[in-house]
Amino acid sequence: MTRELLTGNGAAALGAKLAGIEYLPAFPITPQTEVIETLSKWIEEGSMDCKMVTMESEHSMVTAAGAAAATGVRTFTATSSQGLLYAAEMLHTVTGWRVPFVLVNVSRGLASPITLEPDHNDIMALRDAGFVQIHCSTCQEVLDSMILAYRLSEDAGVRLPVIVNYDGFYLSFTREPVEVPNQEYVDRFLPPFPTNQPRFSADHPMSQGVAVLGGSAYSYFKYQTHLALLNAGLIYKQITNEFQILFSRSYDPVELYKLKDAEYAFLMIGSFSCKGKEAVDQLRAAGWKIGLVRPRLTRPFPMDELRKSLAPLKGVAVIDQNLSLGMGGVLHQETAAALYPLITRPILAAFVGGLGGRDISAEEFYSMAETIREAVKTGETPPQRLLYTEKENTDMQQLQRIAGTHTTSP
C-alpha cells in the first residue's frame, strides 16, 4: 500500500487501472475529461493493457460500453452532466441487458443556463435508469468505490451496471492524500470477470435486447431488474464487509456521523457533506446534539438504514443539491417516502442549495439547524427553502439591470 496525492479524477482513473479494465469507450466533457486522459496516457505508455476508443458522443459511448460488457469484457466509461443526459436512452437500455460495467459520473449542473460547475441534477435525472448509484465524498472513497463497484456489478445476483458519482471541481480537481491498495489485494477482492455468466460467445449464441410484445413478458423483465437492483443493496453490505477486512476501510450504505445521542441531523450526499460534518463539529462545540446522515447508495435507496437511523431523531434538515422542478429536492421526497410508514418520525425541513457550484456556507448550516430546531419546537414543518442570500439577490438584480432586463425577485 502506498499513499499518493490524487485528485478525484486521478483516483477514479487509478481505481479503473487497479480493477484491470480491458475496454474504455470515451468522450470528453468537463469536469470528467481528466479521467479518460489519465487512462489514455497509461494505455499509450504501455502501463495498462486496455483498449480505448474515443467515440463521437456519449450515446455511442454507453452503447459501446454495454455491448462490450455483454461479450464478457471488463468495461469502464466516464461522463458528466450533459453527457450523462445525452446517453440517457442507452443508460435505460443497457440495464435491461443486465450487463455489468462501471460508469463514473462527475456531477455537474445541467443546461440551461449553461454551467460547468457541480450539482446533482444530472445524476438525479437518471435515478430511474436501473444503475446502482454510489456517491462519494472524498478522493479515497472514489478510488475504493471503483473497486467495490466492479465487484458488485459482476456479482451473479446483481449483474447491473454501477455509477460511481462524485462532485465536479470540489472533488474532481481537488488533491487529497489517498491510500492506494496493493494490486495483489485488489485482485484477491476482485477476481477476473466471471466466465460462468451469460455472455456473447461463439459456441453459445444468445440474443440481447429482444422485443417482447404484450405487457406480460415486459413486466416480468422490468420487475426482475428492479429486484436485482434491490438485491444489490444486500450484496453491497456483504462485499463492503469483506472490503473492510482486507483494506480496513468501511463503506456502509449510509454513513452516520456523530449520530449516537443526536436529536437533529443534516441529511445530504456527496463532497459537501464534509462541510456538513465541519458544521456538526462546530454546533456540537456550542452544545447542540446534532449529527449528519450521508447515504452513499441512492439506488437502491437505503430505506431500512434510513428508517433505523432517522426514526429516533426529532428533526432532520435535508439538503438537496438538486431541484426536481415543480416538486423540490429529490432526497427530501425520497426520505419522506421512506419515513412515511413509521408511527413516530422526525420533522423534515427541506433545503435546496449548492446549485451550479454555489457554496453552502457554515452560517447557512447553522441557520438550517436553527430552522429545524424551531420546527421541532412548534411542531410545524417549515416550507422548502432555497439557500440564497440577500446579497446574491441584489447582485443578480444589478446584473439584470446591466443586461437591460426586468427583474423579479425569487
Binding site: 470528453p28 468537463t30 450533459q82 445525452y86 446591466i402
Partner: protein, 282 residues
C-alpha cells in the same frame, strides 16, 4: 467603404457586457468573428433580423459576444435549433456557428440531414482539427497520424473533409477558407448568407494551443503562414494531381447549385392543399 474595427466594436459587439472574451490570444475564432461581422455589415442586414445559433466549444462562445438574436445551445445541436427558428420564422437570417466536433461528431447526423434537406440556413464551421474547449482530444477532423491527448502516438483514424461531406450530402452552397484568407472568408460568408438554400462555409482555423503545440506546428503566426503557403484555389486545384493536392487546402466555392429548398417546397404543398380546400391551420 469597409467598416472599421472601431465601428464594428460599437455596432455589433456586446463590448460593455460580455468582454473580456475567453479565447486564447491569437485564436482563429476572433478572425472568423470579424469576417462574419463584415459580411453581415456588407449585406446591410438589420440586427433584429439576424439569428446566431451556436453549439458548445470555444467556437460556440461567439454569439455570446455579438449583438444579434443569439442562442447558445447544447453540444452538437446548433443546426437543430437553427432549423426550428427557420421553420417558424422563415424571414429571419439564421446562421449556425459550429466547431468541427459540434458539426461532425456529436452533431454529425444533423449536419448531413440539414444539407440533404437543403434548408435555407447558413452554417459556419470553424475546423481547428481538435476539440479545443475540452483540452485537445481528437475530433473527426484530426488528421491521420496527428497527436492529441487521446492519440499520444498519432491518430489512427481517417479525417472527415467537412466541405466535401456537405457537397455530397446535398448542400446548395459550399465554400472553404482559412483564417489567413480573412477577406476571402468575409466574401464567402456574404455569398453563403445571400444564397437561398443550405450554405456551408468551412473555415480552417488555428488552435495553436491544443493542436498546434502538440504537433510542432508553431504558434498562431506559423499556423497562419502555413495556411497561406498551402492554400490552393478551387480553380487551381482542378489542374493538380491527387499527389500534388496532398496536404493542400482547397479554398473558394466548392459547390453553388440550385436544388429544391425544403421550406419553399413545403410552402408549395401548403398552397396546393389550400387550393384543394383543405384546412391548413398552421
Amino acid at each position: 467603404m469597409r467598416i472599421s474595427v472601431e465601428q464594428i466594436r460599437r455596432k455589433y459587439l456586446r463590448h460593455d457586457k460580455k468582454f473580456p472574451h475567453v479565447w486564447c490570444p491569437g485564436c482563429g475564432n476572433g478572425i472568423v468573428m470579424g469576417a462574419l461581422l463584415r459580411a453581415i455589415d456588407g449585406l446591410s442586414l438589420p440586427k433584429d433580423e439576424v439569428v446566431l445559433a451556436s453549439g458548445i466549444g470555444c467556437s460556440g462562445r461567439m454569439p455570446t459576444y455579438l449583438d444579434f438574436n443569439t442562442l447558445h445551445t447544447t453540444h452538437g445541436r446548433a443546426l437543430t435549433f437553427a432549423t426550428g427558428i427557420k421553420l417558424a420564422k422563415p424571414s429571419l437570417n439564421v446562421i449556425a456557428i459550429m466547431g468541427d466536433g459540434d458539426a461532425s461528431a456529436i452533431g454529425g447526423n444533423h449536419f448531413i440531414h440539414a444539407a440533404r434537406r437543403n434548408l435555407n440556413l447558413t452554417a459556419i464551421i470553424i475546423n481547428n482539427s481538435i476539440y479545443g474547449m475540452t483540452g485537445g482530444q481528437y475530433s473527426p477532423t484530426t488528421p491521420f497520424g496527428s497527436k492529441s491527448t487521446t492519440s499520444v502516438h498519432g491518430h489512427i483514424e481517417q479525417a472527415f473533409s467537412i466541405a466535401e461531406l456537405a457537397v455530397t450530402s446535398g448542400a446548395g452552397f459550399v465554400a472553404r477558407s482559412t483564417v489567413y484568407h480573412a477577406e476571402l472568408m468575409a466574401h464567402l460568408i456574404e455569398m453563403a448568407i445571400e444564397k437561398v438554400g443550405f450554405s456551408v462555409v468551412e473555415v480552417i482555423s488555428n488552435c495553436h494551443v491544443q493542436y498546434g503545440r502538440r504537433n510542432q506546428l508553431g504558434g498562431a503566426v506559423e499556423m497562419l503562414q502555413s495556411y497561406k503557403d498551402n492554400a490552393v484555389t478551387v480553380k487551381r486545384a482542378t489542374s493538380l494531381t491527387e499527389e500534388e493536392l496532398e496536404g493542400k487546402i482547397t479554398i473558394g466555392v466548392l459547390a453553388d447549385r440550385e436544388m429544391p429548398i425544403s421550406t419553399e417546397e413545403y410552402e408549395k404543398v401548403r398552397q396546393r392543399a389550400k387550393e384543394r380546400g383543405g384546412n391548413v391551420g398552421c
